[in-house]
């Protein structure tokens, strides 16, 4: 085999090899697996108005805007139900497609577009979740933050009220910081 042909065949061999590996034993970025679990728990402690669902058992949609950093972690959610609503996942490219979303995850890359995104969602019962603590200050409802090596979140109560969502007191009490509420800023 000429050196060139053997190179090409090595390249192909490598390409095929990794395509069919059983993928044993390597963990997904734990951080996003954790955040997906948080999203699931958020959906359990937030109540949407009845108008947000067509029927008692219509799906509850988790949406990601433009980017999906969760990998397959979000897809594991589809096996669960919250208050009779099966969970479903949608990945959308443009805020205009967010009409059917109940929870919308907005990655940090969309930070400069936040005012536009929030005004597009104005008044709609969509729970907005962001990937950095500034998210709460900017008007988002829940923002992930890192405290040392642990994933926490901040909550903006007023934003939740404007969207006609009821955020359970338990969720608010667990937040690392609270914005726009009647309670003082910081943990009560």
């Amino acid at each position: 085999m000429t050196p060139r042909a053997s190179l090409v065949s090595y390249a192909l061999l490598l390409a095929l090899c990794f395509c069919s590996l059983p993928g044993r034993a390597a963990a997904i970025e734990l951080e996003y697996k954790l955040k997906a679990a948080y999203l699931y728990n958020f959906s359990r402690f937030v109540t949407w108005p009845e108008s947000a669902f067509a029927e008692k058992n219509s799906p509850l949609f988790f949406c990601t805007l433009v980017e999906d950093p969760f990998g397959s972690a979000l897809d594991e959610l589809t096996q669960k139900k919250v208050r009779g609503h099966p969970l479903a996942v949608r990945r959308i490219e443009h805020i205009a497609q967010a009409k059917s979303c109940h929870i919308l995850f907005i990655p940090t890359s969309q930070h400069t577009a936040l005012p536009h995104i929030f005004s597009a969602l104005d008044g709609r019962p969509v729970l907005t979740v962001g990937d950095n603590p500034d998210f709460g200050r900017a008007g988002g409802m829940l923002g992930f933050t890192l405290q040392g090596k642990r994933v926490r979140f901040v909550v903006n109560v007023q934003a939740g009220k404007k969207a006609k969502l009821h955020i359970s007191v338990k969720l608010i009490r667990l937040a690392a910081e609270i914005y726009g509420g009647n309670m003082d800023k910081g943990k009560p």
């Binding site: 390409a15 044993r24 990945r91 890192l146």
Partner: protein, 666 residues
């Protein structure tokens, strides 16, 4: 120094990778979804210095063009979009050719900028530059373009001397459904593209696309009709698979073909000693790329990439075919909680056959080159990740200049989450191109007859740069941020053309004298400047972005150099450049944007300073359809931007242009 890979070590590499991927994992098997809040809040994650490092903490001058920037500016090709980046000089030569570089020393074949598309190099080793007419990716499929000014040498190797442009396309998962794009205009006569993305199941996604574009010809600097009309067709696909426990696999490929016209000035041995020839170049090619990424445990990841690229270009002056095979491997792992090490190995094989004709000749006509490289980079953090050091080097071996090493030291300090101060010192090299090594270009003819010809030289060595950089990044609020970069580039062994002993040549007839100018490395220089980027969300509906570039180029011939015009390259880059973009989005249906530019004059060419203005209006009559109108270069019916140094191409002026576009998602 790690051993160089050879054909025997590749199977060993494969085995090593298979072994690593099957190591028992550290993660738990129970699902996190079964845990309650309190339990979730107790779990600790380790962050890898490289991966979790956000762009705002990077120790380098980085600018990102997002997909939204591409859409709002209405650009129809990648070089047009690069005009919004501080520190880049972008000049249009004719309808298909551009001179793009970072931090000075521009030319059609600006030699010091590396361009990558999803990891595949678009840099041509024939001329040490980029043929922009074949980098014709569907713009809607571009996720972002990362522009890193300054030596990117440690990770990207030789020839990333003044910067790296990293074009990253969207994952197939993010481009599902159909897309149809149609545009028509006066200069851009037509552009049509379609894309369809689907999935085989929830872990396997794909997309296919096709695109065709055609451009009208323009006018020369003196007002005559040019011949630079061109068209190009392209098709491609991408397939992504998500592997069960993290890890991703990608396969993508493109095929393209096209024709571009150009006017060339060719020296001839009889009166009038110069001839303007219309050339129709045809170009075609394809590539196939595969990439694999896998996390190993929680503290390491590996990346493996291989690609094959073929390009062909035929014109009356030169016929060229090139095959490239490139394989790269990277391993990233945490040594301690404060230290991350990344190392890698790479191999590239290039085979080209080039047949010159009119005024360009290469001897030998065919050549195969092998480039081996290895790199290592150590990232250390102190004081709870406020202070970050990065020290690394790349070692490369190529057939032209032997071993080259490119070390770099970077420091960044982020005392608070909203500002960062960084500094860097690096060494980088630009290796000789094939033409500088093996080529001969006939440049000018005089009565005699006498011919001035440029000759490559196999004693040519690499150009060397030592770069000193300093930067400051500050998020003044959630709506206003600024990014300042200062640099001082110290160049040595820059290429010059030294006159040699004239001789007589009898073929082609008539017999003529030849004055040879041989390539040598007898020039030094300094380039220094400042780059500022400001991003400001003025209100929920108004957004603005500013890019300012200031630069000074000083070149000095060595004492023993007799290249009379080498130092005139100082005047091939503007001293000042400004770009200001403004967009207004009153609702989801309407969007208007303006883009104003100022580019200073090029002292060494007939190109004066100019102001440019683009305006765009977009309307969504329904959610998934966009209609838009764009006007480019509105302030002037036409203006020149660049007159290239090599191949005696006759440039055309950049014209005022309008076009209308329909974009339909289904």
């Amino acid at each position: 120094m790690p051993p160089m890979p050879s054909y025997q070590t590749l199977p060993a590499l494969t085995l090593l990778l298979l072994l690593q991927a099957s190591l028992p994992c550290l993660a738990e098997d129970t699902s996190l979804l079964d845990l309650d809040f309190e339990a979730l809040m107790d779990i600790e994650i380790t962050s890898l210095a490289k991966r979790s490092q956000s762009l705002s903490e990077a120790a380098g001058a980085v600018f990102v063009i997002s997909n939204k920037d591409l859409q709002q500016s209405g650009v129809t090709s990648i070089p047009e979009a690069l005009r919004m980046v501080p520190g880049l000089q972008v000049a249009r030569i004719d309808s298909s050719k551009w001179a793009v570089t970072s931090r000075g020393l521009n030319g059609r074949f600006a030699t010091k900028l590396l361009v990558l598309i999803d990891g595949r190099s678009a840099y041509s080793p024939l001329f040490s530059g980029v043929f922009w007419d074949i980098q014709d990716t569907l713009l809607e499929d571009i996720e972002r373009i990362e522009v890193i000014r300054g030596p990117g040498a440690t990770l990207w190797g030789a020839n990333a001397v003044n910067g790296v442009i990293n074009i990253i396309t969207k994952k197939a998962k993010d481009t599902q459904g159909g897309l149809l794009k149609l545009a028509a205009g006066d200069v851009l006569s037509s552009l049509s593209a379609f894309r369809y993305g689907g999935q085989l199941d929830e872990n396997n996604h794909f997309r296919v696309f096709g695109q065709h574009r055609a451009y009208q010809h323009g006018q020369t600097f003196s007002g005559e009709a040019h011949e630079d009309d061109w068209y190009s067709s392209r098709g491609g696909f991408r397939f992504d698979r998500e592997l069960p426990h993290g890890g991703e696999y990608t396969l993508q490929g493109d095929l393209y073909t096209g024709t571009s016209g150009q006017l060339v000035q060719v020296p001839i041995l009889t009166t009038p000693f110069v001839q303007r020839v219309k050339e129709n170049s045809t170009f075609s090619g394809g590539n196939l790329l595969t990439r694999y990424h896998q996390s190993v445990g929680e503290e390491a990841e590996i990346n493996l990439q291989a690609y094959y690229d073929r390009t062909e270009r035929k014109s009356t002056g030169l016929r060229q075919k090139r095959d490239t095979l490139d394989i790269e491997f990277q391993h990233l792992f945490a040594l301690t909680t404060q230290q991350t090490l990344v190392w890698g190995l790479g191999f590239r094989y290039l085979q080209d056959t080039s047949q010159g004709d009119l005024s360009i000749r290469l001897e030998p006509k065919s050549r195969s080159t092998r480039v081996f490289n290895a790199f290592v980079q150590d990232d250390l953090t102190f004081w709870q990740e406020q202070l970050r050091f990065s020290i690394g080097t790349k070692l490369e071996h190529n057939d032209y200049s032997g071993f080259e090493w490119q070390p770099s030291l970077r420091v960044s300090w982020s005392p608070a989450s909203d500002y960062t101060l960084w500094g860097a010192i690096s060494r980088a090299v630009r290796t000789p191109s094939r033409i500088e090594h093996d080529g001969r270009i006939d440049s000018q003819a005089f009565p005699g007859p006498t011919l001035i010809a440029l000759f490559g030289d196999d004693n040519l060595t690499s150009e060397v740069l030592i770069a000193y950089e300093l930067g400051y990044r500050h998020s003044l609020s959630t709506t206003l941020s600024l990014d300042l970069a200062l640099f001082f580039n110290d160049y040595d062994r820059l290429r010059t053309l030294e006159p040699g002993q004239p001789f007589i040549e009898t073929s082609p007839s008539p017999p003529h004298g030849v004055v040879p100018l041989a390539a040598n490395n007898l020039m030094a220089g300094e380039v220094y400047g400042a780059e500022l980027a400001v991003d400001w969300q003025l209100s929920p509906h108004w957004h603005s972005a500013l890019a300012l570039t200031l630069m000074e180029v000083q070149l000095h011939r060595d004492r023993n150099s007799q290249d009379a015009i080498a130092e005139t390259n100082e005047g091939d880059s503007p001293h000042h450049q400004l770009s200001l973009r403004l967009s207004y989005t009153p609702s989801q249906r309407w969007e208007a944007s303006l883009w104003g530019r100022y580019v200073g004059s090029l002292a060494n060419q007939e190109v004066g300073r100019y102001f440019g203005l683009d305006a765009r209006l977009a309307w969504h009559p329904v959610e998934n359809v966009e209609l838009s109108l764009l006007g480019q270069n509105l302030l002037d019916p036409r203006h020149p931007e660049f007159a290239p140094e090599l191949l005696d191409l006759v440039p055309s002026e950049v014209e005022r242009a309008f076009y209308a576009r329909v974009l339909w998602h289904f």
